[in-house]
């Protein structure tokens, strides 16, 4: 923590950046912090409660954050994949942000929990995560535990669903998606959902019905899944913020599995790795094209 604070203080006092995006202790546990003074660097923390993916705050569509000017951002290895995604898709120039990588041995699910990080409390998405340290960083600080072995419970559920007959899968998703109230919180926190005007907000014509009924909900979640294919970095934020507890990670992970199997792509923290969307290779599977 001292290392992180020292570095943040130096970047702020030397004028390298105007703000450092990290985590602080809030009234209900760890939360995003926006430090703008060298003295403020002492409020920065990093531990297993720092679950939030701060890359969402780098979106160029957030004018109130843009006013901060040049920022440094503290990032876990999984968050680095999101930043790489934004750079890959030319949303942020690499030289406009200073990246402070923190070594990570996994996080829990609730930033307000006092539980230690154990096999029982670790976030499911961290099970089997091979990355203790990101590659996309200007500075790397901290130490990390050994991480947690897979497979995740989610991977098991995906297998279980894949093995089930179509009617059963349909019934499962109908019962899950009927809970959706279409608040679009999943979209708002997603670092890769940065469109100026989302398809779901367009009214002329109304591509996706905004009503939280079976038709509108299915249309929204299918559209969201397709738009995140080959782009989702598995930060788990959509599922964490869903006020209705819908297991959105099952959708994004299943799609990631398909993309990985068919296009040999896994979200990487190297912005130079080409994304499957927008890249054509002669040996791309194309038997589905009529």
């Amino acid at each position: 923590m001292t290392e992180l604070r020292e570095l943040a203080r130096r970047l702020l006092s030397e004028g390298t950046v105007n703000a450092v995006l990290g985590w602080e202790e809030g009234p209900r546990g760890a939360r995003p912090a926006f430090v703008t003074t060298p003295e403020g660097a002492d409020t920065l923390i990093f531990d297993h409660r720092c679950v939030h993916n701060l890359a969402s705050y780098l979106s160029p569509r957030r004018p109130h954050l843009k006013r901060l000017g040049k920022v440094a951002m503290v990032l876990k290895p999984c968050d680095a994949r999101a930043v790489a995604g934004l750079i890959r898709e030319t949303q942020i120039p690499r030289d406009k942000v200073v990246l402070i990588g923190v070594r990570c041995g996994g996080v829990i699910t609730d930033p307000d929990s006092t539980a230690p990080l154990t096999e029982a409390t670790v976030a499911d998405r961290c099970r089997g995560c091979p990355d203790r340290e990101g590659h996309l960083a200007d500075h790397t600080v901290g130490t990390a535990g050994p991480g947690f072995a897979g497979p995740s419970k989610r991977a098991q559920k995906i297998e279980e669903l894949a093995a089930a007959p179509a009617e059963k899968r349909w019934a499962f998703w109908q019962s899950e998606l009927e809970k959706c109230v279409r608040c679009h919180a999943c979209r708002q926190v997603c670092p890769m959902c940065y469109c100026d005007r989302c398809l779901a907000d367009k009214t002329q014509p109304r591509w996706i019905e905004s009503s939280p009924h079976a038709r509108g909900n299915m249309a929204w979640h299918v559209a969201r899944a397709m738009h995140l294919a080959g782009r989702c970095v598995d930060c788990g934020e959509c599922e964490r913020v869903c006020p209705e507890g819908i297991p959105l990670g099952l959708i994004t992970r299943k799609i990631a599995q398909v993309v990985s199997e068919r296009y040999d792509f896994r979200p990487s923290d190297d912005p130079a790795v080409p994304a499957p969307v927008g890249t054509y290779r002669m040996d791309d599977p194309q038997e589905f094209i009529l």
Partner: protein, 351 residues
């Protein structure tokens, strides 16, 4: 009207069974498939979970997330409107929290302001709210700072507080009296209100002091500081996800949409909406008067603690704390209000 009676826990179970047998819908806080507790339909009192605050509020029982207003059919150049009934079957909500029951009463004002909202009042008329005095809250609760209390009767038809082998029942409204009268065999003599005092005192102590109880000071400061840098500072962490508004028992804004179902038929619906999104204030011209999150965060505080009080002499917040519990970025209304009072009384400023 403030008379009391008593109901034993066994009779409460019997009451739910009687109501269900009579075809009356019963809802209460119960476990969901993902392990949370929501207000939802129940079949038996044993389904009711009284520990902790439900994740949702009572709002959806009166203003559903989506609701058809009418259907339309086009015939040539004519349009026929098919009305949808605003009369609803009777329902009892059992195990409401005082903050959630009060919210419904707060919203009656806006729902009966420039027009009378028929679906809202149709459901209000059909619903009897049986509230359980709150056992106490967590650090985000602040009902006593907005003029309520863990045992407030506002919005409730009956208020139950535990004593001995059952509950002391305060009869708050005529509707509450009607429920007692219609099920008289389930109610009887028992402990009086004084037997619940220790329970009430303990609950009150658990929520006091989280926000200074100065709604007048908050209102005056918000009114006078529209351009204060405070709003820009607190909005930095806000994603504009609207989770706060969805969870809020008093956020009531809705959008109205026409959804064609065939070439000639469709439905006009209203859906929950929130001032936390950009599209909420987007004009057809492309101009957006509230074009960043600073204005949206300010709007939420402004509407609740200044605009609604000015228009209806009532605070559009019952201190339930759900917005703080649900926020994925740790935005906390108790912190915001506490800082506003500190700034207004000269004990602090924007950090």
């Amino acid at each position: 009207m403030s008379t009391t009676t008593f109901i034993r826990t066994e009779d409460l179970k019997g009451l739910v069974a009687d109501l269900r047998a009579a075809g009356i819908g019963v809802a209460g806080p119960a476990r969901t498939s993902d392990g949370a507790v929501d207000y939802r339909s129940i079949n038996a009192f044993d389904d009711v979970v009284l520990d902790g605050q439900p994740r949702n509020s009572l709002k959806q029982f009166f203003l559903p997330p989506t609701e058809p207003l009418f259907k339309y059919q086009r015939k040539g150049s004519d349009v026929a409107i098919l009305e949808i009934s605003t009369t609803f079957p009777p329902r009892v909500i059992l195990g409401a929290r005082p903050c959630d029951a009060a919210a419904v009463d707060v919203l009656d004002k806006v729902m009966n302001w420039d027009y009378t909202d028929e679906p809202w009042f149709g459901r209000r008329a059909a619903t009897t709210i049986v509230t359980f005095a709150c056992p106490g809250g967590d650090r985000s609760c602040f009902c006593t700072s907005v003029g309520l209390a863990p045992d407030a009767t506002r919005g409730s038809d009956l208020l139950l507080a535990p004593a001995g082998d059952g509950y002391v029942v305060e009869i708050v409204t005529e509707k509450g009296q009607a429920l007692v009268t219609a099920n008289a065999k389930r109610f009887g003599a028992g402990a009086g209100v004084e037997a619940t005092q220790a329970y009430r005192d303990k609950a009150r102590a658990s929520v006091e002091g989280h926000v200074p109880a100065r709604p007048d000071v908050i209102r005056a400061w918000v009114d006078a500081h529209f351009e204060d840098p405070f709003w820009a500072e607190i909005s930095l962490r806000c994603h504009g996800c609207g989770g706060c508004a969805a969870a809020c028992p008093t956020c009531h804004c809705f959008d109205i949409v026409d959804e064609p179902e065939t070439l000639t038929e469709g439905t006009r619906r209203r859906n929950w909406d929130t001032c936390q999104t950009s599209v909420f204030t987007a004009h057809a011209s492309g101009h957006n008067p509230r074009n960043d999150q600073c204005g949206r965060c300010r709007q939420r505080v402004n509407h609740k603690f200044a605009i609604y009080p000015a228009r209806f002499n009532d605070i559009l917040c019952t201190g339930c704390g759900r917005c703080a519990r649900t926020c994925p970025a740790g935005q906390d209304v108790t912190e915001i209000l506490t800082r506003i009072v500190a700034m207004a009384t000269g004990q602090g400023g924007a950090a």
